[in-house]
Structures are given as structure tokens and as C-alpha cells.
Amino acid sequence: MLLAAMSNPFREDLVSRSRAEACTVVIFGATGDLTHRKLVPALYNLAVDGELPHGVKIIGFARREKSDDVFREGLEELNKEVSRSGHDPELWSEYQESIQYHQSEFTDLDGYQRLADRLDAIDRERGGAGNRLFYVASAPEFFDVILENLKAVGLSDSVGDCWSRVIVEKPFGTDLATAKHLNKVVSKTFAEKDTYRIDHYLGKETAQNIMVLRFANAIFEPLWNNKYIEQVQITCAEHLGMEGGRGGYYDNAGALRDMVQNHLLQLLSLVAMEPPTDLSADGVRDEKVKVLRSLRQLDTPERIKENVVRAQYTAGHVDAKQVVGYREEERVDPESMTEAYVALRMHIDTWRWSGVPFYVRVGKRLPKKATEISIHFKAPPNVLFNAIPGATAGGNVLVIRIQPDEGISLRMVSKLPGTTLRMEPVKMDFHYATSFGKGSPEAYERLLLDAMAGDATLFARRDEVEEAWRFIDHIEKAWHESEKAPEMADFVAGSWGPKAADDLLEQDGNSWRRL
């Protein structure tokens, strides 16, 4: 029913992105935190900015008994607190008219039939068939049944020119087998082109800028290989622990599954991929998946012991406040063997990256919140200035800061003013917030709009997810099933991780970048 974007002549040159199409967004797990804190405020902000297509409706699907009004009130309360563009009561009043609540158990087929009737009624009001975007933000154990029930009542079918798409929140499986199973369920329900596996890191401005930095600037790409790059580090540090009851989920997942399998491997593949043939979703994802396929598998306990460090924090101080150790956290098993910190040394077996270690670390209760990628270039030859006794050696470092202070910096060596020759590292620094006064949209805003536009570039494809799990699975198995399981290290909360993680780099003559 809806025509292609280019058939609307008034769209020409107005926005340089694929056009989002009007649809009804159905959110499963509508009473959850994600819906209240991220999804509905994201849609509100898109509406405020005039980016939300005309006629978008939102239906919250959840188990609790609630009226539309009560549901809207709860959403409004949180929107006031978290909305990027503030909260305008007048605009909200109009926006909330498009929000409805649909009460049903996820397992109750009748609830889905009622949902289908409701969607048909909305479409009739609009004057024809319409597009549907299903957002599965429920607890993961309901993913299967939600998808199966959508199919059972025909809601997953595209009708005529109208589409039916699904966004699946993380975690997309808990290992390779469950991911494959989930992919199977999804592919029975929706076509791959209509499936959007969300990784909100890819919606962040700086993550998107990685490709721009690499492929829109001529100076970096010629150096982007093992001839000039010594090592790459990816750090995702979190100063929070298990506040707000998150221990229950986290203690089942752990840092490796919660962060490395998705966010950090996605960042790694953006840094390491070859230039895509074009900027289409598959053009980009084809190259990203090649990186994941080329990861040297850590498939024996010995290799894992050599290349991976896992740890838990003990009681300490963060932000000058005393905090408990991981095993004393609320909803965490006192004998838990789940890692709250992990550091890895990875290798990508390609011509470009042969011999270049990629160090990845992620952890809770580290001194501060920061996510960044640092590209460490090789030191210059030890001649001329670098041969002078006392001269500061060291290569250039390009840092891509993902959060919280998004930006890019380049460290280089410079002569100190004076009559003698002294050299020190200096930093050229670009801050998004300083240079562009206007704030970036939230990652979810961009991703929701992309899903409405049918642009899957910033979403993970089936093979990407499975390749990432294949790599992670070896480590998880060695940790939890092997008799020769590497030990669990510990570190004091508020420090930069265990000594074993420092040793991991020291073996190569490297050290973690100080953030």
C-alpha cells in the first residue's frame, strides 16, 4: 500500500537518509524499563523533531492489567525525567493520543488475535492496510512464544505493499545453540530482510563515525594495517555495579555474554573490516562478518588461559563511596562464578591484521564510565630524534571515544619549547559536544527510524550473531565445563581490573591505555 520513497517527489533532498514509513509500533514488554526509559522517549523525541512519520501509532503489549490512561501516565512520568529534548506537556498531550495499551499474556494466542483486530481497526481508520513494526523487548524466555504467536495469527505476514518487521532486543541467545534456535524461530516468522537484531552501540554517533573516519579521510586508511599499527585496544569501563536489581540478570549472563558478544565485537568489526563495496546494509555487514569469521578461535582451555582473564570485584571504593564485592551484591549468588570483568587478547587472521593483537576489556566497578577504541601505531625507527638519549619514544595513538565524551583524539610527539631538544606527547582532541553545540540523537532514535525505513545497516545480521557466539562459546565452555577451567581473578572495586589483565599485555611488551 505504501509506495516507495522516491515516488513522493516532495521528499527529494529533504533528508539524506532512507525515509521512515508510517507504521504501528507494537512493543512487547511494554511495562519494562527499556520501554519507559528508551523506546517511548526516543519516539517522542523523533516526533518533537518532526522525524516521526505522520500517523505512527504505538501499542504497548504486556501482561499487567492497565488502562490506556494509566499506561500513558507512567510513560509521561519517565519521559519528563529522561527525554533528550525535555518534556513539553502540550506536545506530549498530542503524542500520547497515538499510544495504546494492550493487555495479554505473551503465551495467550487469543491476546494476539485481539491485537490483530486492533491493528486492523487502526489501519481501517487510516484508510487502508498499514505497516507493522514489532519490537520484542520482553524477557528473553518469551522471544520464541511471541514470534510463534505473531505468526499463528498472521501478523508476521506482509500484506500487499505493506511490511511487517520485527526488532529483537538483546540478548540474542545465550550461546551459539540458542542463538541458532532463535534465528530459526525468527526466520520461520519473518524474512531476514524484515528482521532487525538491535545493538544500540551501533546507533551511537561515534560508532557510526568509525566508518566515516576510516573511509572519508584519505590519511588513515593507508596506515590502517599491520605495517603501521602495533595494537588495538577496546575498553568498556563501567563504574556501576549491580544497582537496581540488575544482579539477577547479570549473574546469569556475565561480562562476556552481556557486552563482548554483541557490543564490543561489533565495534571491533567496524574497526577491522575491509572497505565495503557500497554502503548498503549487506555491503557493510558482509565485511563485518568476515572479520568475525577471521577471529582466531580460542578453542582450547590452554589458549583461553593464555588469552583471556576473567575476574570479579571485591569490596572497595568507587566515586569515594564504599561498595560491596560482586558476590555480596543483591541477587548475585554468593558463590557465583560469573565474571564481572573480562579481558581478552584476540587476533584477526587476515593479511591486514596478521600479528596485530586486539585487546578488549570490559568490567563493572571500574574507576569511571568510559568506552573507547584506541589504535596504537608503531613507534618510528630509532634514528634521528628517537635515537637521542632521553627522547620520548612511543608511537601515535588515535582514540575514538564512544561514550560518555564522544570524540576523537590523536596523540603525537612534539618538541618542547626551549633551547634544548626535548620531546613530549601532545594531543589533538576533537569533542563532539564542544564542536557541535546541538546534542546527538539517542541511539534508539536512530535505530527505530532506520527500522521504519527498512535500513538494516546498523543492525546485526544472522550470520554476524552466530559467528560472534561461535567465538564466545569456546570461552564460556572452557570456563564452565572444562576441568582445566582458568581461575577467576579478583580486583578491588574502583581499580582498573586484576593484575592478570595487566600481565596479559605485558607479555607482549604492551600496557593498557590509561583512561
Binding site: N8, D13, R19, P53, H54, G55, G127, A433, T434, G437
Partner: protein, 357 residues
């Protein structure tokens, strides 16, 4: 001497030859601030008394756009050739924790300007950064190739012009020979209206009705008249309407123009100016079974969109364009781009101006 006696808003007066040295001293005084610049932003006015007001304007703009600002006030009536300069910095707290500052140099030029504008003033551009040049008021003979060859983007507000046709004709060589990007604030005033129209025509019923459009009526304020004409030119260009005959202004209160669809049907279009209207107060599109309305009350920050299609009625709100010039410039700088759509509608728009004059 038209420079206001109180030049405090312009900062510290400095000798022309010492501008860069004095700017450097500004930063030596306070290490806590960050000096940022993404563009050279020049604001030119031949009303030299506008310097102080433009300094306030630039302060607002630097909240979102870090730049090196160069204010130029010219007093052609001064008999003696004179030149004075002031420097200051506009500092804004970004994200509540970092003071980011944009440098500003203000020049007052008295008497004959020739040569001094490009030689002296533009010697203070930040190298490698593009020059965005906001020319306020009518374009004079100083708008020549020596000047516009340096400009990457020219910002103008055609709503200020007494004779828009003559003024736009002065810009044509710069657009053609130097590929200069023209950003007319009148065109900026139509941005959200165009987005709203595009959103309405995303609906398949509305889209199918494009060949059936019979009338397009735009109500504007006096200030918004040129914007209204540009909006009509945009309709004509995007729908590939042909001129029905000579475009003529039929009534004194309205600019009316007849176009033809490619299939031959006539489209009657008009811009009506009304006091008390928002710059773009109302757009009515009649395509028989499909009728679209976009309205905005003066002072309101939202557009009201209404579509009647085969008995169905739907309504929605959308953001509206800023009503003040500072907001328009700020928005325009945020969007950037090559403004190729403006180039596309330009010939039709010029034809309409010719028909209206």
C-alpha cells in the same frame, strides 16, 4: 561616525595590526576555556550601527556553532577612510561543565571600502575552515567576484529586499561561476512546511492525488511573501508543472500563477499576504477528493497538519520553523549541505518573480 559610543559589547578595541596578537592574549588569560572553531562566520552589514546587535546575534549562534566570527560594519557615507577593530570571545558552557569559546573580531569600515574588505578583513580568517558569509540587507556593488570567490556559503534574507528580482540576479554569477551555495533565509522559513507537505504526501492516497492537484494557496505575512513564492516554485519543480503561459500576478493582494500538469490540467496557485499571519501561515492544497491543509498561528511553535482523503480525516502536529532570524541562521548552519534543491527551484522562482514584478 555611526559606530555606537558604547562599544562594550564588541569587546576590546585593538590596533588592526595587533588583532592576532591580542586574540592570543585573550587565551593566555584563562586556561580553563577551550577555543573552538568549525567555520569562519562573517556577518556583513552596511548599517554600521548594527555591529553591537550582530555581536549579540553571534553570541546566540555560537551556543550551537563554534566559529571564528568576523563582524563587518560599513559606513559608506563617512568622508574619511577609517578602520577600527574590536576583539572578544563568546563563551558558552557545554554540557554544564566545559566553557567553549568562539573568537570574534568586529570591524568598522568608514568611507570607500574597495580592497580593504578582502585584503584586511579576510586576512583574519581561520585557514582551512570554510567561510560562511551572512550579508544583511540589499546587495551593493561590494558584492563582487573578489568577495564571492572567497565565500563557500552565502546567507541572505530576501524578505528584507525591496526589489528581490534585481537582488537575486546579482547572485546568479556567483552561483554559476563559483558554485557558491546560497542559503536564503526565506527558503529556510519553508523548511518545516516542506517536511510537513512531504509527510502528508507519504500517504498513498495523497500521493496518488498529485496529478489531480487543482489549487495551491499559500497565506503568508508580508515578511513571508518570498518564502511563499519559493514554496510554489518548489511545488512546480517537484511536480514537474509547466508554465501555463506567462506567469502573471493577477491581483494586487495576491501573487497568482497558473501552471499545467504534464497531462494538461491547470493548477492555480497563489500567495496571499495577510497581516497577523505567521511567515507561512497557511498552505491549502486541493486535489479533489484529497485536501491537505498545513496551518500555523503566529507565535506558535508547531504546524497543524490536516488531511481529508475520500472521507477520512487525519490530523497531526509537526515542528515549525523559527520565527526569528537568529534561529533561522542557527538552523541553516546545522543543516549545511549544498542546497541543491534551491538551485533546482531557482529558475522557476525567478520566472515567478518576473511575472509578479
Amino acid at each position: 561616525m555611526t559606530v555606537p559610543n558604547d562599544c562594550s559589547q564588541l569587546g576590546r578595541e585593538v590596533e588592526i595590526g595587533q588583532i592576532e596578537v591580542e586574540l592570543k592574549r585573550l587565551w593566555e588569560a584563562d586556561e580553563a576555556r577551550t577555543n573552538a572553531s568549525l567555520i569562519n562566520f562573517a556577518v556583513y552589514s552596511e548599517d554600521a550601527s548594527a555591529l553591537s546587535q550582530n555581536s549579540d546575534t553571534v553570541r546566540e549562534i555560537t551556543r550551537e556553532h563554534a566559529c571564528r566570527a568576523i563582524l563587518i560594519g560599513v559606513d559608506r557615507d563617512e568622508v574619511e577612510i577609517s578602520m577600527r577593530a574590536w576583539i572578544t570571545a563568546h563563551c558558552n558552557l557545554m554540557n554544564g561543565n566545559k566553557s567553549v569559546c568562539s573568537e570574534q573580531i568586529a570591524f568598522h569600515l568608514g568611507g570607500r571600502v574597495s580592497g580593504r574588505l578582502s585584503n584586511t578583513v579576510f586576512a583574519h580568517l581561520n585557514s582551512d575552515l570554510p567561510l560562511i558569509f551572512w550579508w544583511q540587507g540589499d546587495l551593493s556593488e561590494r558584492f563582487n567576484d573578489r568577495l564571492y570567490s572567497l565565500i563557500k556559503r552565502l546567507v541572505i534574507d530576501s524578505s528584507e529586499w525591496q526589489n528581490p528580482l534585481a537582488q537575486f540576479e546579482k547572485i546568479v554569477p556567483a552561483m554559476q561561476e563559483y558554485n557558491m551555495v546560497v542559503q536564503d533565509l526565506s527558503w529556510t522559513r519553508t523548511y518545516h512546511a516542506r517536511l510537513a507537505i512531504a509527510a502528508l504526501f507519504d500517504d498513498p492516497l495523497a500521493q496518488a492525488a498529485i496529478p489531480a492537484i487543482k489549487t495551491v494557496r499559500v497565506v503568508t505575512s508580508a515578511e513571508g511573501r518570498i518564502a511563499g513564492l519559493q514554496l510554489l516554485a518548489w511545488f512546480a519543480a517537484q511536480c514537474e508543472w509547466r508554465k501555463a503561459s506567462e506567469l502573471i500576478a493577477a491581483e494586487s493582494v495576491a501573487d497568482s500563477f497558473d501552471f499545467e500538469h504534464s497531462h494538461g490540467g491547470v493548477v492555480k496557485t497563489s500567495v496571499v499576504t495577510q497581516s497577523g499571519s505567521a511567515a507561512i501561515g497557511l498552505i491549502e492544497i486541493d486535489a479533489g477528493d484529497v485536501q491537505l491543509t498545513i496551518s500555523r498561528s503566529k507565535g506558535n511553535q508547531v504546524l497543524h497538519l490536516k488531511m481529508k482523503a475520500h472521507g477520512h480525516v487525519s490530523e497531526q502536529s509537526a515542528p515549525a520553523d523559527s520565527e526569528d532570524v537568529v534561529g533561522l541562521v542557527r538552523d541553516q548552519l546545522s543543516r549545511g549541505g549544498k542546497n541543491s534543491l534551491f538551485r533546482k527551484i531557482f529558475p522557476v522562482f525567478i520566472d515567478m518573480l518576473k511575472g509578479a514584478s
